[in-house]
């Protein structure tokens, strides 16, 4: 998927109501405000990322959204992870995820279901490699292994970008042939 609408459209066409529900109910970022003085992290010293809640959103919801123009999307997640240059910062991301999920189990449950729906989407369109990575992200989350989750998220972003590039190349070739 390039963006969330591709997934919704696909499930609508297939009449997969449960998957639609599971996917869309995690598209809104977490409601809960994070207590601001709680974290004093290096990641926040980057002016791009104003607060913990935004960072949490980039590590979760933004991945489901794909590329978006009007809200935080996967392009912001890519930028965030590219800016992570120290072990300390990686640990901070893990802490932020752990804290956010524990603060908000309601969101955690929805996010997990949305990842299952995303995995199902990739399988159904025949993109097993992406489905497999999403499956690993799910497993890591279920095992509360957030280091593994971030590892797999990084891997997903790399493969996702390659997939988007492939789609664009194919589209260009089709247009040239025409």
């Amino acid at each position: 998927m390039r963006d969330w609408m591709d997934v919704v459209k696909y499930f609508v066409e297939c009449g997969c109501d449960v998957e639609i529900y599971d996917f869309v109910t995690a598209l809104r970022g977490i409601d809960t405000e994070f207590p601001t003085p709680f974290f004093d992290v290096d990641v926040l010293k980057d002016p791009e990322y104003p607060d913990i809640r935004t960072i949490f959103k980039l590590l979760t919801t933004a991945v489901l959204r794909g590329t978006t123009m009007y809200a935080y999307g996967i392009q912001d997640t890519i930028r965030l992870l590219q800016s992570i240059d120290t072990e300390k910062k990686i640990k901070e991301l893990e802490d932020i995820l752990r804290f956010g999920f524990s603060l908000c189990p309601h969101f955690y449950k929805h996010f997990l279901h949305a990842l299952y729906a995303l995995e199902s989407y990739y399988r159904q369109i025949g993109e097993s490699p992406l489905a497999d990575i999403v499956s690993k992200m799910i497993l890591a989350l279920e095992n509360k292994n957030l280091e593994k989750y971030i590892d797999n998220l990084e891997y997903y972003l790399i493969e996702w970008r390659k997939w988007v590039q492939r789609q664009e190349n194919e589209q260009e070739e089709d247009e040239n042939e025409f």
């Binding site: 609408m5 919704v8 459209k9 609508v12 109501d17 449960v18 639609i20 529900y21 869309v24 109910t25 995690a26 598209l27 809104r28 970022g29 977490i30 409601d31 809960t32 405000e33 009007y70 809200a71 908000c104 309601h106 969101f107 929805h110």
Partner: protein, 154 residues
């Protein structure tokens, strides 16, 4: 309790999504889908917000979601209006709910546009009223909600 409602006039969340997808109303689709999840905040009385706001936005459910518009209707039928108003006043005035509330308002506006497309102008205007009053004039929100149910009674 909800058997006196005319279900054919009430939205189903999946039909609303399908409508926006078919017409490529991406912004409306976005506004609607991001209001379908209940608030993440767990406090006393949050079931009232879930039933009266999220339950209503979802409409009739076909995939066994616990809270939908029939739950919303049960609340309207079972509780005194002042009790419901107090619950909404207390919760929606809290900063914790501001993110949820903003999305709920946009979701209601998108839903109103769906009813308008379906030529249900009266219902659409009631939902617009609900959107503008949610969180600030909750008694008006509840009045419009009651009127909506009166309108769709068989």
């Amino acid at each position: 309790m909800s058997s006196d409602l005319n279900y054919t006039r009430i939205h189903k969340w999946n039909d609303v999504i399908e409508h926006f997808v078919l017409h490529r109303y991406k912004q409306s689709l976005w506004d609607y889908v991001t209001s379908l999840r209940g608030a993440d905040i767990k406090v006393d009385n949050d079931n009232a917000v879930k039933a009266l706001v999220t339950g209503f936005i979802r409409g009739i459910d076909s995939v066994a979601i616990v809270v939908d518009i029939t739950t919303c209707y049960s609340y309207i039928c079972s509780y005194h209006k002042q009790h419901l108003k107090n619950a909404l006043d207390e919760l929606l005035s809290s900063d914790q709910f501001s993110h949820f509330k903003a999305h709920a308002r946009l979701g209601l506006n998108a839903l109103a546009s769906y009813y308008s497309d379906k030529n249900e102008k009266k219902l659409a205007s009631l939902i617009v009223k609900m959107s503008t009053s949610l969180g600030t004039y909750n008694s008006e929100y509840l009045n419009a909600l009651e009127e909506f149910f009166e309108e769709v009674k068989t």
